[in-house]
């Protein structure tokens, strides 16, 4: 061996030999698998609830992309391909658990009952964040990679203090981030804090294989879930296109966190089927073979195959869900188009709780200017 510099990108072979450590409860072909650590039985209603949310979430996402293409949104960050990871994680949450999302967590948002219109509003540019995190148990979307992961740990530090004071029941925190964000200092500091303090946080890393054009292998040569051990807590890799496995693994980790057994890093192995955002052009950096490979692992098709084969639902159910999706899409589209533009003078009001003279003056001056301007136009 000798010291070298790279001359080509490392080849990406999606058809790698099966990773024995990958937790799966549904095979790619939709057969039910079993795993010693994650025994789980699913009722018909649970399976149907998963399926329904997978389809609705995909439809919300498609509507986001469509609205952007039609000029109604400035941007959209599609979750296409990651529905199972998010719906699985979302269903695993207890009502009192708190989520700290990135900008792509539309699926978890949906399960946490955040109106998709509010997500669209952010991407439309009418507001930076339109829901109440405390009310929804779901933080505002976070764009600066990794920053929210520290917030999650801090929030968890608050949870354990509340519990110690007898002011709350134990709960857990889900900290979301992508494969690329694992390279940020903040994510690693969050691991340090949570590891040292055994904080009730579940680190939920959706490894969708890409950070814009940067493949995961450029961030790490070892599987990302390995990162956890060195910070003193367990890591596990789950098939993120398997809603049942993701649900089971996240639920288990959340329960541990609630019991005071400390954090877990979950790497949900999945794939970003769409572009990074609607501004992105993935044909510049990845080949269609890879895409085909992953499309064949579609998370919805897999669950449906299983449900059909095992008789958990019939055509009527699937049709009903599709109809519901159509209605949802129509509703959120209308809701998005009806979103009022914000009041420019209101922008001065939410900077501080206690407003300052300075901002009052700037606001008044601008109000005056707008008035004068309107007069002039008139």
């Amino acid at each position: 061996m000798t010291q070298t510099v790279p001359t080509t990108y490392p080849p990406i072979d999606p058809a790698l030999p099966p990773d024995p450590s990958l937790v799966q409860l549904l095979s790619h072909e939709g057969t039910r698998l079993h795993h010693p650590d994650y025994e789980a039985d699913f009722t018909r209603d649970e399976l149907r609830a998963f399926y329904r949310d997978l389809v609705l979430v995909r439809r919300i996402d498609a509507e986001g992309t469509a609205l952007q293409r039609q000029g109604e949104l400035g941007l959209w960050a599609p979750l296409l391909g990651q529905e199972a990871a998010q719906v699985g994680a979302g269903h695993a949450l207890a009502a009192t658990d708190m989520v700290f999302p990135t900008y792509r967590e539309h699926g978890i948002a949906w399960v946490k009952d955040v109106d998709p219109v509010l997500l669209l509003g952010m991407f439309r540019g009418v507001e930076h964040g339109g829901w109440d995190p405390a009310d929804k148990g779901f933080g505002l979307y976070a764009i600066v990679l990794g920053a929210q992961v520290l917030h999650a740990v801090g929030y968890a530090m608050g949870v354990v203090r509340d519990v110690a004071r007898g002011e709350a029941e134990p709960s857990a925190v889900l900290a979301c981030f992508g494969d690329g964000a694992t390279s940020q200092g903040d994510v690693n500091e969050a691991f340090v804090w949570a590891g040292a303090q055994r904080s009730p946080v579940v680190f939920f890393c959706q490894n969708n294989q890409w950070g814009i054009s940067t493949p995961t292998v450029s961030q790490s040569r070892t599987p990302l879930y390995h990162r956890a051990e060195g910070f003193g807590f367990p890591g596990v890799r789950v098939d993120g296109n398997d809603v049942l496995a993701t649900y089971a693994v996240v639920r288990d980790a959340l329960a541990k966190a609630r019991r005071g057994e400390g954090p877990t890093l979950i790497e949900a192995y999945t794939y970003r089927v769409g572009p990074h955002t609607t501004s992105d052009d993935p044909t510049r950096y990845r080949d269609s073979g890879e895409l085909q490979h992953w499309k064949a692992r579609d998370p919805i098709a897999r669950l449906r195959l299983f449900m059909e084969r095992d008789g958990h639902a019939d055509q009527a159910f699937f049709d009903e869900v599709d109809a519901e999706a159509d209605a949802l899409a129509a509703r959120i589209r209308a809701g998005c188009l009806a979103l009022p533009d914000p009041d420019p003078l209101g922008a001065f009001d939410d900077v501080f709780v206690e407003q300052t003279e300075d901002l009052r003056r700037q606001q008044a001056a601008y109000a005056l200017y707008l008035e004068g301007f309107e007069e002039e136009q008139a």
Partner: protein
């Protein structure tokens, strides 16, 4: 929320560091949601002993010796605030606040705004700052401009024991994030804990005068008071106390009266506080000013080695020289 301030019944005289300590203690007693986070603030009581004894009194869950990462300290403080706590972070020295910069300017400063007022960030970031203690590199910085320029933050600095005691409690009671600059070379200056009638956002005329206004804050207030005492002219010294927002009515009133102004700070001239004050004064008092606002500041160089720091730091003589220049207009 406004905390009831614990004002002492008889007037104690304390060094500023101890006054801060008492102020923190009072705030923690008043509100059990107040937590302290920082490096070495627990058993050690902080490298300047500002948190001395607080962990013993309030427990490890309220006075937290964190891992060594400033982004982690501020980032987790934000999360704690979301959960209803009022964290007070200690940055060990001025020069170590930069790793937390993103958390401060992109998160802490913006979350209330991002959430349209739904999320509050009652977080205080305490920063011992400034030079004059003979320290090695990174221990004598004056980074206040970075935070004053950042929309969404409030920034204050205390210059006396009495203010230290009261202002830290007011900062903790604030529902907005406050960067709290402590002039470390004045930590050992003693003063009586007299009543403070100002709000946290008000400036104070600490020495009245008629010929010229000296605007200062933090470590330079004492320097300016000494300069005023040494000067043959009648100099008015205003302690800004709040750097963001600026209490312009007090400042305008003083300069309207004197017609002349010298701003003094340790931070570099370029985009130091003097720049903003100069701009606002000329915008507002263009016809009243008899001389341009002059600035006596650290040079626009990285903080120099300790053996020449007294050249870099504005001292009495440099202040008086600027006073003369102003009066010569």
């Amino acid at each position: 929320m406004t905390a009831t301030l614990d004002t002492p019944t008889e007037v104690k005289t304390l060094p500023m560091a101890k006054a801060l300590n008492e102020g923190l203690r009072a705030a923690m007693k008043n509100d059990d949601k107040v937590l302290l986070l920082g490096e070495d603030i627990g058993r050690l009581g902080g490298v300047f002993r500002v948190t001395d004894g607080l962990q013993a009194e309030f427990g490890l869950d309220r006075v937290v010796d964190t891992p060594l990462g400033e982004s982690g300290i501020v980032g987790t403080a934000i999360g704690l605030a979301m959960r209803g706590y009022r964290p007070v972070c200690e940055i060990q020295f001025d020069g170590f606040v930069y790793p937390a910069f993103d958390q401060i300017v992109s998160q802490l400063a913006k979350l209330h705004n991002r959430s349209k007022g739904r999320v509050r960030m009652p977080v205080v970031i305490r920063i011992p700052y400034g030079g004059g203690i003979g320290a090695v590199e990174h221990h004598s910085e004056s980074p206040e401009s970075y935070f004053v320029h950042t929309a969404g933050l409030k920034v204050v600095s205390c210059a006396s024991a009495a203010d230290a005691y009261v202002m830290i409690q007011q900062a903790i009671a604030s529902d907005d994030p406050v960067v709290f600059f402590e002039p470390k070379r004045r930590y050992w200056d003693k003063g009586p804990l007299t009543d403070v009638s100002e709000t946290l956002w008000q400036a104070r005329v600490v020495k009245p005068g008629t010929d010229l206004t000296l605007l200062a804050y933090g470590p330079m207030v004492r320097t300016c008071v000494e300069a005023a005492a040494a000067s043959e002219h009648s100099l008015e010294v205003v302690d800004l106390r709040s750097l963001s927002p600026l209490d312009m009515s007090t400042i305008f009133a003083s300069v309207r009266k004197t017609g002349r102004c010298v701003v003094v700070h340790e931070a570099g001239a370029t985009l130091g506080m003097g720049a903003e004050l100069s701009a606002r004064l000329s915008e507002e008092l263009f016809y009243e000013m008899e001389a341009p606002v002059l600035r006596v500041t650290g040079f626009d160089i990285p903080y120099p080695p300790a053996r020449i720091e007294e050249h870099h730091l504005p001292g009495l003589d440099r202040v008086l020289e600027a006073v003369d220049r102003s009066l010569a207009f």
